[in-house]
Symmetry: C2
């Protein structure tokens, strides 16, 4: 049963993942700069990214809107269509929500419900932050940095990659890079009670990071490590599994090894000249 | 798995109900008037009320906060404790959420997950708005009107009554009176493709409605019909079941018949002198 009653009904056949994220005007977006369709799309995308990071198949969504009084019906429709487009792409049913109008900024929230993939019957649980073990390779999707230039609202949540990895490879832990590559990887390592060592020369740096570097004067690597809002997957892979991934020709998006979890709980980066340095942790603060 | 990962994991053994409601400063509450603990409590209570209206057992909650920058840690704690108190009372696990600080008003949202009661194995579905049939009695919990004086934030969601009704009586349709008794009953009748006839002399009028009437000069009955935010249950009961309810000495709260669903799709009220009149529908507009 969908929209209209006091609640929506699900008939799960196994465990579920629930995740919720709200984006707010002034904090996460500027309405005129980003446009309403992109705002709606992003509210759906950040939640889909969380499901990808759990290795969960997206199933249903509840939407929560705080709408400024001045928004017209057509503007709200635009917002909804942005959301709906991505929901349809990943077969997410919008089953309910809550809408209020008010004398305040726009907020767009979604609660997403995910399940195990059908191909995933043998698995005992969803991916979590705390499953990593010392020696695991650290693998990332896509590339990093300069999200402010566009991909913070145009990014593709890594659902297809997660679905492929769930079915074909053993992932021990995962998260998505929302606050920053450095910050989110450190959260994973802390939860897994490990440290990590990453090689700056292996980190996929985006064209936007290079562009940002030209305008800020800071190295593109810094943008890749600290900008955040890339919404790429960060996965841990047992050493014995890595060759299988390297040889996998059916990975739906780029997937690169950038380092390894370590027994010692420090955070280390190998710089451009091969020297080990402590990695400073920072990221987007909500 | 609870708070801290990209998502929370549930292991349902049957169908689930999901409901989400957000309360916002300026729309649903004034911060200084209501106090932070009461605001937190109400955000949980309105969602629990929706689960009661579905005949669902509350199980888990996700919390979404937009916190104005000026709130101190102790104030946020107060907000959370108000929420937590009610969650504990009804054994709801707070499993995750999303918190942002911003330069805007306070909003407090919750997504609640409910299941069937264990006592309820034979039932095929949750209560909905659309299950009512012409001839069913219309029963309500508690009393109505004048919620603005206090019970709009101090009300007890009708979880215990719903649990009792689920186990002992056949309810065909239900909702909770959030917008107003008149409005929510009309929504139920429309969804059930019926009309209704209620008797003004049977409607339980609260002391607060009487007090409000003294200050507004409008009849207490009007306050009971239209004020809203009573969060009482409105249930439909097949005529054959009504005697059983009348004789039930274990009902955990007052439960009163106020009228009947009708074949004709009009909305009728019997006034104080026994005359049938069309009922005007209005209620709280979000």
């Amino acid at each position: 049963m969908g929209v209209g009653d006091d609640g929506a009904i699900l008939n799960p056949t196994g465990p579920l993942v629930l995740t919720t994220d709200t984006i707010a005007e002034g904090t996460h977006f500027s309405r005129p700069l980003m446009g309403l369709a992109n705002i709606g799309r992003k509210a759906m995308a950040v939640n889909l990214s969380d499901l990808a990071a759990m290795g969960a198949q997206p199933r249903a969504a509840l939407i929560t809107l705080q709408l400024p009084f001045e928004l017209t019906f057509d503007q709200v429709k635009l917002l909804f269509l942005g959301m709906k487009e991505l929901a349809s792409e990943y077969e997410v049913a919008i089953v309910g929500g809550d809408t209020n109008r008010w004398d305040g900024p726009l907020t767009v929230g979604a609660t997403l419900i995910g399940s195990h993939y059908p191909s995933d019957e043998g698995r005992t649980g969803f991916w979590s932050l705390g499953g990593g073990r010392a020696g695991d390779g650290i693998w990332v999707s896509g590339c990093f940095g300069g999200s402010i230039l566009s991909h913070h609202f145009q990014f593709q949540p890594q659902i297809h990659l997660a679905a492929h990895l769930v079915s074909h490879h053993g992932i021990t832990a995962a998260t998505d890079a929302s606050d920053s590559l450095a910050h989110d990887l450190s959260q994973l390592a802390i939860a897994s009670q490990t440290g990590f060592e990453i090689d700056s020369r292996l980190i996929p740096i985006s064209e936007d990071a290079v562009k940002q570097s030209a305008s800020t004067g800071r190295p593109a690597l810094e943008h890749a490590l600290y900008d955040g809002e890339d919404f790429q997957l960060i996965c841990c892979v047992p050493a014995g599994e890595e060759q299988k991934i390297e040889q996998d020709r059916e990975l739906p998006s780029p997937f690169t090894r950038i380092g390894r979890l370590t027994e010692t709980t420090s955070f280390t980066i190998i710089n451009g000249t091969g020297i080990r340095e402590p990695l400073i942790i920072k990221g987007f603060q909500h």
